[in-house]
Symmetry: C2
Subunit: 336 residues, 2 copies
DNA sequence: CGTTGTCAATGAATCGTTTCATGCTAGTCC
DNA sequence: GGACTAGCATGAAACGATTCATTGACAACG
């Protein structure tokens, strides 16, 4: 159980500890023969760097913290993956925290990251943590917000344009000739919902003969979607929309069930249907769902890059707000 | 940006650094008045413990590593949550790694955990990491395998009895009076698949008049399930099973689509259907799916407890293999 | 030949916390 | 009053990697 340190490696290789450290960190500064001997010694002893000592000396860790709202959500797992891959490219790592929409957990992760002296925090904030994040920044730990345009704060952010996504979805329905649209989703207090609806509105308003009604749901679940779908199916054919845009894919799956199974309405012939988020399930419904995809991995990668920049150059004069455009994914539910 | 250390706290509180440390770690050894003054100083200076220094001194970190096969899978997010909550109860934390069925990533996380000197590793192994884990154990880092009964290795494990789960599912179909069963799933090379099938077999064999046929799929996806469902629906009524057990919920969702929408067969009246895993979607299908639920959180919690024990008492003489029983969840798809 | 510069290697000092042997004080007991 | 004890407090040493001022060797140059 004897723990192997640079000291032991140095002794075996017949060099000083300083040289061992140089081999580890700037091998180009060391003569090839020393490099060789040090490596041999490392292999022989099975030396593994002690990160704690490294961090202590460096004053900060080689990790970044990432707090996501829901680790089960593919959007966030992809985002995390993007950030991780970017970090790994520089030999850095990510500490992943799942706040699960819980203020206490979110705060606990920030505490943890602070005691760990991470090099930066990437967060999709649930609570109002701006004050807390400012304190971290005062201590030299930068933060970048993801999945939320943080205009008005002094933090940089990386997000997706939900307004644009809503417009893209509605425009697609209009492009395939539908004019009487419906938006299914709610509550509007969720920013994503209101943004997507707003975008849809703007597309419809720009189109002659276009109209859009809102069918509110109490949350974004399959069940609520089904209820809304059944409600629409029960209308007389003339009163029904011919294109439906749902606030997310779960709702769309429900609407599809409500229309098709319960109401006997054919998708996309009678009503075209499009969701949002492009969850894995969207491809696997009876009629595969069209959807709007967010560049989740890219968001994570970019967020990490902003952090890297801030952690080496210090805080920027002006926070950057990077907004990505979502992408339309066409499947059978809107195929004409 | 001045970094605040115990030294500063001690100076402000008018005590020694040793006393500050004692307040932090064994307040009962310190006089109430000192405790008070130290806490005041901590608050005033905004002191935050430096974990790196703590770890360095302690020789090990206050974290455990957890490697899961698929961070998006609710089974693993629940498992992680269980482990985290248990760790948090002792003021410890979890470093979560998502191997995503990738050997390189799995190995990279083990490297990371080793340099971080975690107190233990909880892993749902993808590759054959036994040798690697033994090396870690030699260095004083215990490991426990989750979601895999590790008999034959010297490591403890926590898993779920898939044979029993298969039996429970099939028995349930038999209990509601079905006799001509079908098992849909594959390939059998996946241990979960063969175990569940084996369990189902054993239930059927113990029942007079019971039979079970296997409808193989090439993987466990909705698409394959739908194909299998359509195939069964195309048979003459007398040739069809009256109860179907699917290797997982995705397949079951597909079968439901194949039978119902494409074949016009009523579930559960003509054919009862049960899946496995109880994914969130199982409740949201047109006919809510019965399923078999695994105690994921409990697995994580128990795994962490084994680790805690091993990390304080040293390796046990005999590895422990804890096997939990899955639980039947009855919904409309088998309601009689 | 003496000076200068380059390249390697050295090893003591450092990061911040915890531990532990030691010291001090006040109280208790005989 | 002296001998102990219990209760607190002290502060130097230790953990292991990195840094940096310094040394040494050697070549190039005038």
């Amino acid at each position: 159980m004897a723990t192997v340190s640079v000291r032991d490696v140095a002794a075996l290789a017949g060099v000083s500890v300083g040289t061992v450290s140089n081999v580890l960190n700037r091998p180009e500064k060391v003569s090839p023969s020393s490099v060789q001997r040090v490596h041999d010694a490392i292999d022989k002893l099975g030396f593994v760097r002690n990160d704690a000592a490294r961090q202590l000396r460096a004053g900060r860790s080689h990790s970044f913290g990432l707090i996501v709202l829901d680790a089960g959500n593919p959007f966030f797992t992809d985002l995390a993956r993007g950030a991780e891959d970017r970090a790994a490219a520089d030999g850095l790592s990510i500490l992943l925290g799942n706040s699960g929409n819980d203020l206490r957990r979110e705060a606990a992760y920030l505490d943890l990251f602070e005691t760990q002296r991470v090099s930066g925090v990437l967060i999709s904030p649930f609570g109002e943590q701006v004050a807390r994040l400012e304190r971290l920044r005062d201590r030299g730990i930068p933060a970048v917000l993801v999945d939320r345009a943080a205009r008005g704060t002094s933090f940089s952010s990386v997000s997706v344009d939900d307004v644009s996504g809503g417009r893209i979805a509605a425009q697609h329905l209009l492009d395939i000739g539908r004019r009487r649209l419906a938006f299914v989703g709610g509550p509007r207090s969720i920013r994503q919902v209101s943004d997507r609806l707003f975008g849809a509105h703007s597309a419809v308003e720009a189109t002659a003969g276009g109209s859009i009604e809102v069918v509110a749901t109490s949350d974004l679940t399959v069940l609520e979607g089904r209820r809304a779908g059944a409600e629409l199916a029960a209308r007389t054919p003339g009163d029904r929309p011919d294109g439906i845009f749902c606030a997310n894919d779960l709702v769309a799956v429900g609407v599809l069930q409500g229309l098709g199974i319960l109401g006997g309405i054919r998708v996309p012939d009678e009503i075209a249907l499009i969701g949002y988020d492009d969850i894995a399930f969207a491809q696997a419904t009876v009629v595969p769902l069209s959807s709007v995809r967010q560049p989740s991995g890219l968001i994570g990668r970019t967020g990490l890059e902003l952090l890297l920049a801030e952690s080496s150059d210090g805080p920027p004069d002006e926070p950057q707000h990077i907004v990505y455009q979502p992408e339309l994914v066409v499947r059978a539910s809107t195929a004409v």
